[in-house]
């Protein structure tokens, strides 16, 4: 990771960021049952300008919550979230407006992301209006955004309503809307999970190419490493609100270090017959963010857990160009 870019200040920086949600109402509080869900619990990473990073992990591990914090749809309840050197929690008024035009979130479900009563033209004009872009520039900007996402024959789509488009076309419109203000940073939350596999490839290609061309910094959220690998050079793996591994995607694919990442990699099905059917190296059951185990939160499903895992949460260990949070990888003392 030591190259010239390291000198540049990061565009995005999370420092022990937390997003805790209180759960349970008044009754639960009286009975002493009220708790917090630690959706994000002490996450630290930096993104260099132009980097594209996958956020990987199973359902409920805090990927979307991290994304929402990064674009300030939610305010961090602890730690710090910085964008271009500024603490985003403190942004107000015009500074917040400016921030909102520099970062964009692409939602999981294209079928819900668009107002069904808006034509595609309205959908794309809305962010321009909000950013007070002069009307005269709208048409040209809209056409440019549609060309970017390879909806070349724009005239054909402009006056249609969302339900008149296919899922793949809709997801491209959602992307065009996110890109129309030329953001510097995009968080894409499982943008293809609702799409048919045969159209995924097209949408992924668009995302990858546009991102690279425009030098956009991106977070790509998914539970499928096969997809993340296709769009991101670096991957951050999360489990129960915490980072467990962070490093170059290809290294993680070839040689996952954390026991959870090992299970995730083993679980990805491949589209040809010669593959392993060995049982996954992970315990059954779903992680419960309201009641995580002490010490390492993965220990109740970890096939390699030992005494220390129950008492001490593993901190970051640097292994070559990777960061791993697991006692097995700590230097022997």
């Amino acid at each position: 990771m030591k190259d010239g870019h390291d000198q540049d200040p990061p565009l995005v920086r999370l420092d022990a960021a937390e997003l805790h949600f209180p759960v349970g109402g008044v009754v639960a509080q009286l009975q002493g049952r009220a708790t917090v869900v630690k959706a994000v619990d002490g996450v630290t990473f930096e993104l260099r300008r132009g980097e594209s990073v996958g956020l990987l992990g199973e359902s409920g591990c805090g990927k979307t919550s991290t994304g929402r914090m990064l674009v300030r749809l939610d305010k961090a309840t602890g730690g710090r979230v910085e964008f271009d050197g500024e603490d985003v929690s403190g942004l107000t008024g015009d500074a917040l407006k400016r921030f909102r035009s520099r970062v964009q979130l692409i939602f999981q479900n294209p079928f819900e992301a668009l107002n069904p009563r808006f034509t595609i033209r309205d959908v794309l004009a809305e962010p321009l209006e909000n950013a007070r872009i002069p009307r005269a520039e709208h048409e040209e900007r809209i056409l440019r955004a549609m060309a970017l996402v390879k909806l070349g024959d724009a005239g054909q789509f402009m006056d249609r309503y969302p339900h008149q488009l296919s899922g793949g076309q809709l997801q491209r419109i959602v992307m065009a809307r996110a890109l129309i203000l030329e953001p510097e940073f995009v968080v894409a939350d499982e943008p293809v999970s609702m799409l048919d596999v045969s159209v995924r490839a097209g949408v992924l290609n668009v995302f990858r190419d546009v991102r690279a061309q425009q030098g956009i910094t991106a977070i790509y959220i998914s539970h499928d490493l096969a997809l993340v690998r296709y769009v991101c050079e670096r991957t951050i793996v999360m489990y129960l609100g915490r980072i467990v591994e962070d490093g170059p995607t290809e290294d993680i694919v070839a040689n996952p270090l954390h026991p959870y990442t090992q299970a995730l990699v083993a679980a990805v099905p491949v589209p040809h017959p010669d593959q392993s059917h060995a049982p996954l190296p992970i315990g059954r059951g779903a992680p419960d963010p309201r009641n995580p185990p002490s010490g390492c939160t993965f220990r109740d499903r970890c096939p390699r857990a030992f005494d220390r895992c129950a008492v001490e949460a593993p901190g970051p260990t640097y292994v070559q160009n990777r960061i791993v949070h697991c006692h097995l990888h700590e230097p022997k003392t």
């Binding site: 199973e58 359902s59 793949g168 045969s198 159209v199 296709y230 059917h277 779903a286």
Partner: protein, 338 residues
């Protein structure tokens, strides 16, 4: 070869919209052997759900069997009276609907819902039903003390397992599962697929697994049926069909899938979209998207022909499949014609 458990012969299903018929499934033919998992793959809208639902005769109100038969254990499902069909459901053929995990009744505990099937449909007594429910939960890997929980207390993956337990309740010979893992995480997905395979091996159950993911097919299926725009375009043993597909559509699907086991390559989409089934093109329905289409493809419907043994494909150029496969690997082949 043993006697198939299910044989589809030229099955067609139509939906009536206004005064027009849409043929959603046209002339589908394939076999399901006892104790095997058959993957039914294809893009959204190609007729997978319609075909799957027809096999338990739970079609929409505007649907009708437009022709053909489905012989299950010697009886034609399509010709059975509603009463006789009712006798087959759950006991012989069980259905796990698309998004089954959202189809459980939120006001009853999962134990109550299981007991309902076991007692009302299976004629079991209360205590026998209780024992059976516990056994089913053990099979699908859920703690038996969770029988008293409501659906919302389970994660999506666990609800999907409950749906599998329900399908298994009365020991069916055939389970039809419509996209059982599509919405799930890779780890949960893998655990559920392992479960289906184990049930097949342990109980000799057959499964028709509807999916649009050929990786899922590669992981659990013994055979594949590939559908395109309402027709079966290729069918054969899983390994042969995925490694040496004989139909250009299957070749295209293969390119569109990310593959973690090999070097990170290009993903090549199949440009365009399937045709509107209300007015499909004449000839081969894949012709508008097929890089190998010739004049005859646009006029003559290709029939399912033998490619190799029990590996069949419906393509005029089936004899050239090997050459086409070699060309299909290159992404330029699939670029949209300018």
């Amino acid at each position: 070869m043993t006697q198939p458990l299910l044989t589809l012969k030229d099955l067609s299903i139509a939906y009536r919209v206004g005064d027009q018929d849409t043929i959603a499934v046209e002339g589908a033919s394939f076999d399901v052997q006892p104790g095997s998992i058959v993957g039914l793959v294809g893009e959204s809208g190609c007729g997978k759900t319609t075909l799957a639902r027809s096999l338990t005769r739970v079609l929409a109100g505007n649907a009708r069997i437009a022709g053909g038969e489905a012989i299950f254990d010697g009886r034609d499902i399509m010709a059975l009276s509603e009463r006789a069909m009712n006798g087959l459901r759950w006991r012989e053929i069980a259905f796990i609907p698309q998004s089954a995990m959202n189809s459980l009744d939120p006001v009853y505990t999962v134990g109550t819902q299981l007991a309902e099937v076991l007692i009302r449909r299976g004629g079991l007594g209360r205590s026998a039903a209780r024992t059976r429910a516990e056994e089913l939960f053990e099979w699908v890997g859920i703690e038996t003390n969770r029988l008293g929980d409501y659906p919302h207390q389970f994660s999506g993956g666990m609800r999907q397992r409950v749906a599998i337990a329900l399908a298994l309740a009365l020991d069916p010979k055939l389970i039809i599962a419509d996209e059982p893992v599509t919405a799930l995480d890779v780890i949960v997905q893998r655990q559920i697929l392992d479960q289906l395979r184990e049930l097949k091996e342990r109980l000799g159950i057959s499964v028709i697994l509807v999916t649009h993911d050929i990786s899922v097919v590669a992981y659990v299926c013994d055979r594949v049926v590939v559908m395109y725009a309402g027709r079966v375009v290729e069918t054969g043993p899983m390994a042969a069909t995925l490694t040496a597909p004989a139909h250009p559509y299957t070749m295209g699907l293969r390119n569109a899938f990310p593959d973690l086991a090999s070097a990170a390559g290009e993903l090549t989409p199949i440009e365009g979209a399937p045709p509107d089934l209300a007015s499909p093109p004449p000839g081969c329905r894949f012709a508008p998207r097929c890089p190998f289409a010739e004049a005859r493809c646009r006029t003559d419907v290709p029939g399912l022909d033998i490619y190799d043994g029990d590996h069949l494909a419906a393509c005029h150029r089936i004899a050239e499949a090997e050459t086409l496969r070699a060309r299909a690997v290159a992404s330029e082949t699939w670029e949209a014609p300018a």
